[in-house]
Each structure stands twice: as C-alpha cells, then as structure tokens.
C-alpha cells in the first residue's frame, strides 16, 4: 500500500523530534550548563573586543614622541600600533620612544624596532592623507589617473617591460592604476609636505605585486583610492568572513555521523526498520535536525558578517553535501574509528574544495565551482551574483548531495546496515542496491553526472596553472578516466553481486544503456556555458570533446554517443567476468576515450 505524502512527512517529523530529544539527552545538564557558560564567556570576550575596536595583537607596540599640536599627532592617534607620547629627545636616546617628531623632522631610534616603527608611522600618515583626499570635492584632482600608453606589435605578447618597468602597476586601469614610474608615489606625502627622512626609502612601499585585478577594498568605504589602497588579487576580507560559514559545519557533521553510525552499532536501527516507516523517512527524520542546525548557524553567521540571503542560499548546498557525504560515510564505515577517518576526510576535502577556488572569486570563472565563491562575491559591496552564476555554483553540489543520500538510503536496510564489509565493498553494495533492472544502469550513469562535473571542474582548477601545452593532454586523460569510472563502476557492482546474468548479450545491453544514460546526463553540463567556462582553453578541452552543442555537425553530436556506448560496452564485457578483466577493459576504454578526446581537440579545437 502506498503511503501518502502527509504520512511520510508526519513520520519524518516524529523521528526528527525524537532525534532532537535523544541527542539533547546525551549531554547531561552539568555539561550543558558548562557549555553555555563557556559560550557566554567567549561571546562576552569577543563582544568586548569588538566594542573596543577589535582585537589587535600589535596594539601600541611603537611609541612616537609627537606634540599634540603637530599635524602628525592625529595619524599617530588613529593608528592601532602607534602610541603618542610627549616629544622628548632624551627619551629617543634612552630608547623610551621609537620615533620622534620635532620641528617637522622625523627621527628614529637606530634599531630594528625603530625602523619598523618608522614604516608603521609612514603607513599611518599615508592613510591619513588618503582619508583627507577623500574629503575633497574634486576627486580627479585628489586622485589623478595617470595613463601610460605603450604601442606594441600585435604578433607579440605583452612585453615583460610592461609589468616590470613601471613598478608593477602600469597595465591596469581604473582604481588600481598606479602612477607608474618612480615608485615614490604619494607614499610619503605629508600634510606639510616636509618629510625628508621618511621619504628616504619610500619607494619600496609603493608598487604591489599584481594590482588591478580586484582593486576593491571590501571593508573600505568606497571604490576609489590611491595606489596604497590597492588590494591583493583575492578578496581577503570577504574570504575570511566566508570561511566562517564552513567552520560550524565541520562540528555538526561529527555529531551527525555519530548518530547515524550509532544506529548500526549493536543493530539498534533494526527496530526502526521494523516500524511502519520507510528507510527514507528514517534518514530524513534523523538528518533534518542537523540540517536545521546548519541553516540556523549559517543564518547567524550571515547576520554577523553582513551576508544576504544569497549567502545563506549558497551555503545550503555545501551543508547538504557535508551531511550527505557524512551519511554515506557512516553507512560505509564499520566502526567509529573508520567513521572518524571518513568525516575528517569529508571535512578536509570539502573545506578545501569550497575555500580554495573562492580565493580567486574575482579572477576567473573557474572559481564558481565553489558555492563559497558566491558568498565571497555577495560579501563584496561592488560585486553582484547573477542567477546563472548562482545556479552554476550550487546546482552540482545540490545534485551531488541528492545522489549521495540516494545511495546511502539504498543500503539503509537490514541486509546491508549491519554487515561488516570493507568500505570499498560497501560502496559497491550501495551502487548495486540501486540497480535491479537494466534501465537502472542508464539512470545511475546519468545520476553520476554531478560527480563527473565536479571532478572535472576540480581537475581544471588543479591543472589550470600549468602551461596549456602540458595541461590539455593531461586533462583529456583525466576526463576520460573520470567518465569511464562513472559509466562502469555500477555495472561491475551489479555483475559482482549477481544481479544480472554474466552473458555477453547482457553485458552489451548494459554497456549500451550505461553509455546512453551518461550521454543524456552529460548534456546537462551545458550549464557550464552560462558562466563562460568553455571560453577558457581548459574549459573547452574538458567539456567540448564530449559534445555540448558546440559543434553544429550532426556527426559530431552522434560521435560522443557512439564513444560512450562503445567504451561502456567494453568495460561491461570485462566486468561480467571478474575484477582482472574489468581492470583490463577499463584501461582499454580509457585509452580509447583519451584518443578520441585528443583527436577532437587537435582537429576541431
């Protein structure tokens, strides 16, 4: 008898409620009270620090002797690292002050600390000047733009001199444009215009390495500024804030993994399985509280760092993948020891996968392989997130989470839940659990696309820094490897468990279905185009050979289908025999697939 949606939701709600109560019961009152006190204390310390202007490890570490009526006094007062004291030449000699400002002259103690204090003093003065300039009505006069034109031949690339000769700032325009040339910039300009000592080595602080790629200070008050305001190519401030979204997840999944594995220890989950609820209800009910906790934590972090609903919506797929991967891990692990290994792996991999691309949020569309990039952009005042970019970043994660839950629920049954098999075999069981009819092979191949997509994007992200001539062949091989795994592993699992008869005809049918399913699913990678990834050479190499509509010829549309069916049939023929034959057939398929990719790229790319 089919149960209604209402009955399913009711069962999920009941299980979720009891999961919360039971989890709460695990922590005794004394521990809970201590935890609450610790949380309050931590909050109080952070709050007090924030109210006092933030926590600074370098607060007042340099003493500057400067008169209160000196124009330098204000900048020193505003600097966190500088402390203004009475201008006493004896104090400089005695080492009680690091910098002395008297009669418009700046003198420093002849010590490393004195030189460091001078550098800090110079930065403080420079910042004060910029602030002063910002108050000017005539912005063009305050921040003149210097354009350096250099004519070069079209046949040659950009000469090194463009980036080197002018102090590293010459090629960019807009906000990040450097004055170019002398490097002294305005670094030592003072309110009085008299700063001979400080100007002595002022040129060293002028140019920054790679200006002009971002040029936006996410924490600043505006988009204009002097060269001193140029930011590194990554949005450091937003990135740090975005990282705050990931931190709580790493803790929540530990608790979630434990509660899921706990059902498998001593066969506790057996009694839930014999209740009038489905395995999906049980998993949903037990997952819901942890997903809820993650959403609440994400919302709180968003409130704290100034993120919008876009940030929360972008973090949600990450939370889902954290939970789904942990759930699948808890289904595969045989003990808490193995679970710890799984959850740590999940945490490290997902944190790295989401965080590292976000560093390049303002540099390359590849960064959008991570939903955290959307958060970083959302946190930057002058950046916006388009719907297609949002979809590109979040859809693969959401689909991956769905498929992982699907695989895990497939083995949430008595026969798999309590058996003690190594993790790889449990993974094969999970695949096999979803294959009972030939058409399931096609469906599973199609469902593997999100993982294939993510893996190929990861390969692009990892390899894109290498020279294109080396990277593209390597990438084509990796793409072939990933896709052949996706097309064949579940077929091998089904043969290995005896789901299908190991005949040649069955293998060919399954291989054809797998290739077809993969081909259809692969069309969904067309979403890559919406953010312009194929415009990159690597993106084109990764996605074009399989045919995502870039080729107009009908033959080339059919060619990927023929390829997928052929290689999948080859591996299926190997899989029907044993692991050794499967490995051999798999290797042959990868070679064939790589050759196809190379041919397409070299002739048409």
């Amino acid at each position: 008898m089919t149960r209604s949606l209402r009955e399913h939701l009711s069962a999920i709600r009941r299980i979720a409620r009891w999961e919360i109560e039971r989890s709460a019961g695990i922590v005794d009152r004394r521990t809970a009270a201590l935890g609450a006190v610790a949380l309050l204390l931590a909050g109080a310390v952070v709050g007090a620090g924030a109210m006092a202007g933030g926590v600074s490890l370098d607060r007042d570490i340099y003493r500057v002797g400067v008169a209160e009526d000196s124009p330098y006094h204000g900048p020193v007062e505003r600097s966190v690292a500088l402390e203004a004291t009475r201008p006493d030449p004896d104090a400089l000699r005695a080492g009680d002050v690091d910098v002395l400002v008297t009669d418009g002259r700046v003198r420093i103690a002849d010590t490393p600390k004195g030189r460091a204090a001078l550098s800090e003093f110079r930065s403080a003065v420079r910042s004060a000047n910029v602030e002063l300039m910002r108050t000017q009505e005539n912005g063009s006069a305050a921040f003149p733009v210097v354009v350096v034109l250099q004519y070069v031949s079209r046949s040659s690339g950009l000469p090194d001199a463009v980036t080197d000769d002018d102090g590293g700032g010459g090629i960019s325009g807009g906000d990040g444009g450097d004055s170019g040339g002398d490097g002294s910039g305005g670094g030592t300009a003072t309110p009085t215009g008299d700063d001979s000592d400080a100007a002595a080595d002022g040129g060293s602080s002028g140019p920054l390495g790679v200006p002009g790629l971002g040029g936006i200070n996410p924490l600043g008050s505006g988009g204009s500024g002097s060269p001193a305001e140029i930011q590194p190519p990554f949005p450091f401030g937003s990135l740090v804030l975005a990282f705050a979204f990931l931190v709580p997840m790493n803790f929540v999944v530990q608790a979630y993994g434990s509660t899921m594995l706990n059902e498998r220890i001593n066969r506790r989950g057996e009694l839930l399985l014999v209740a009038p609820v489905s395995p999906a209800d049980i998993v949903a009910g037990k997952t819901l509280p942890y997903l809820g906790a993650m959403i609440v934590l994400t919302a709180l972090v968003a409130l704290g760092v100034g993120g919008s609903l876009v940030s929360v919506a972008a973090v949600l797929p990450i939370a889902l993948v954290f939970l789904a991967a942990t759930f699948a891990g808890a289904m595969f692990a045989r003990s808490f020891k193995e679970l710890t290994f799984v959850t740590v792996t999940v945490s490290v991999f997902l944190t790295a996968y989401t965080f590292v691309p976000a560093i390049f949020a303002n540099v390359t569309p590849i960064a959008l392989i991570s939903p955290l990039t959307v958060v970083v952009r959302d946190l930057q005042p002058l950046q916006s997130v388009t719907p297609d970019a949002f979809l590109f970043a979040t859809a693969p994660f959401t689909l991956c989470a769905g498929v992982l839950f699907l695989l895990g629920v497939g083995i949430y049954r008595e026969e798999d839940l309590f058996t003690q098999r190594p993790v790889p075999l449990k993974f094969l069981d999970a695949l096999d659990a979803r294959v009972s009819r030939p058409r399931d092979v096609a469906i599973l191949s199609g469902l593997s696309i999100p993982f294939v997509f993510v893996a190929e994007l990861l390969a692009i992200a990892v390899l894109f820094a290498l020279p294109v001539s080396l990277t593209i062949p390597l990438l084509l091989f990796v793409v072939a490897l990933i896709e052949e795994v996706a097309k064949s592993l579940h077929v091998y699992a089904a043969f290995e468990s005896g789901t299908f008869a190991g005949t040649r005809r069955v293998a060919l049918v399954l291989g054809a279905l797998s290739g077809l399913g993969f081909f259809v699913g692969e069309k969904f990678t067309a979403v890559a185009q919406v953010v312009g990834l194929p415009e990159l050479a690597l993106g084109q190499a990764a996605f074009a050979p399989a045919g995502i509509g870039l080729f107009s010829a009908a033959g080339l549309l059919v060619a990927p289908l023929v390829l997928h069916v052929t290689t999948a049939s080859l591996t299926a023929l190997g899989a029907k025999r044993d692991l050794r034959w499967y490995a051999l057939a798999f290797a042959g398929s990868v070679v064939l697939h790589t050759a196809y990719n190379l041919t397409v790229v070299s002739r048409l790319g």
Binding site: M1, R22, N266, L271, A275, S278, E414
Partner: protein, 335 residues
Amino acid sequence: MATIRVEGLRKTYGDFPAVVGSDFSVDTGEIFGIVGPNGAGKTTTLKMLAGLVEPTAGVAEVAGRDAGDPEMRRDLGFLPEESPLYEDMTPRSYLGFFADLYDVPREAARERTESTLDRLELEHRERRLGDMSKGMKRKVAIARSLVNDPDLLIYDEPASGLDPLTTNYVLEFTRDLADQGKTVVFSAHNLYHVESICDRIVIMNRGEIIARGTVPEIREEYGTTAYHVFTTVPVAGAERDHRADTERYQAVVDDMAAVESIREAAAAADGEVVDIRTREQSLEDIFLDLADETPPEAAAGGGRAPSEAAAEEANAQPSDGGRTGAEPSNGSREQ
C-alpha cells in the same frame, strides 16, 4: 484462520542458501516455534516474516499482506535476539518514542506503557537504560514490542542469555499474550522452551524444514521408545545394574517382541523379569537425530560443509550467531 502463510520461501546470500523453500502457516492465537541449531535459518525466516529481509523467492504473507508492506508492521511486534536499546534514554522515554513512531495517541501510549511495565514488574522507569541489567533491558524490549498493541508477535530467542528466573517469567508472559488472542512466532534452540509453550513447531536445519507438527506428533512420528528390562539372571545383551541393592541385570530394547524374548530367556535360566520401564525420546534427542540424518548436500544445495554453512550465516546474520540458552534441557523423560 491463518495469520501467516509461507510458501516456497527462500533466501540466499550470494551462493549460500540460508533458507531453502520453507512452507508453513500459523493460525491466529497460536504459539508457533521455529527450532534449530545456529545457522539453521530461524532468524532469517523470522526477519523475512517481519519484512526486514527481502526473500529471494517465495511468498510470505502476514494477515493477507505481503510481509514487506510497511502497513503490515503496524500490527507487528518484533523482538530481536539482542535488545538494541538507546542506552541514554529511560524506559518511559524509549517506549514513548516507539509509541509515537507507531502513531499511538499519547494518552493511550502512556496507559499502555505503564500497564505493560506493571505486568512485566519493571521498576526504575526513569533510570537510564544503559544502567539496567540484561533482564531489565529484555523486559523493556518486550514492552516495546507491545507498545502498538500488535496482533502478531515475532520473538527471536526471547529468553536468550537470561537467568532461569527471568526466562520462566518471559515464557509465562508469552503464554499469557497468546491467551489474549495474539499470535506468537518465536525461535529457539533451547528445546525446553519450545516444548513448554509452543502449540506447533517446525524444526529447521541448514535452511530446511526437516520436521513439523505438535510436539506429541513429532515425538510420535520421529521419536522412538526404549524399553529397559530388568531381570534377576543374566541374559544375552543385559548388563549388571550396579545401582540396585540386589543382583539384577538390565537390557535395553526397542520393541515389545524383544521384551518377550528377554522374558523367555530369563525364565529358561530360572530367573524372571522384575521390572520394565519405558523411556521416550525427548524433543532434543529427536532433533539431534534428525539433524544428524540431514545430509549437507540436501540442505545446502551446493554441498558446503555444515560448519562452513553455519559460519556463513553467522557472518551474514550476526544476531543469529548463537548463544545457548541458560537452562538445561529436560533430557530424557521417563514414564
């Protein structure tokens, strides 16, 4: 009326047949026992009836529904061999959770829980389950199986690992449940439990049902009667009975014709028969004989050695991995 109907039920794990084509039915209000050694397929059969394990082939129907139907489980109380409780909960909260899971109205659940715990004489209802003895945990597990007031109870080794006092209590409680009209199917490898409460039984060995019927029927069909004939003089086949105060000899034969022969032989030697005692085989003896007679090939289908087969099922079904009952069997029964 049959509550359970099983036809051609079969379960294989890979190449290993755990249950080989079982057929039986269980009537409403009956206590039905499934008996067999470790690895016989008892637990697998019960789990197929409870919908926990999907049969490879055959039919398992409970109250007219397929055993895999979730709705069927609303009227089912299942007690596994172990008592896998959430040890951080109390009996009340644990039973409340399962009552909620079965959608039992809160007030009815509370009354039923308290009533069942009263009947089971379970105190310390607010103590953590992890702090309770094994017997108390078993009582909580039994109470959980009744929280939805099911018509069918499937108990896997209900007295497994319990002390004799608690065991007797559990068996009597099970008998009471049947008296209330509930159908009970339970497995055991302690045959004393089976003989004491079951209306009908099947004996399983290596996945196959090798005998079925009431206990007297099985005894009549498969058992033998031994005649212990005591004489005052030695006769052929007799041995000296050293337990007797006077000189006498004992011969054991299995039919009345042999008894007559001994009587004649004793008379010929100027002696006489002074006592004849009959001794019927116990269910355990019958079971052991039947198990010995079952060829491994017949049951395992693939010719695996019995120890290997048992080990494989124990591996596939850890809860069936076997422990012996706490009570001794009643052994031979003299009449």
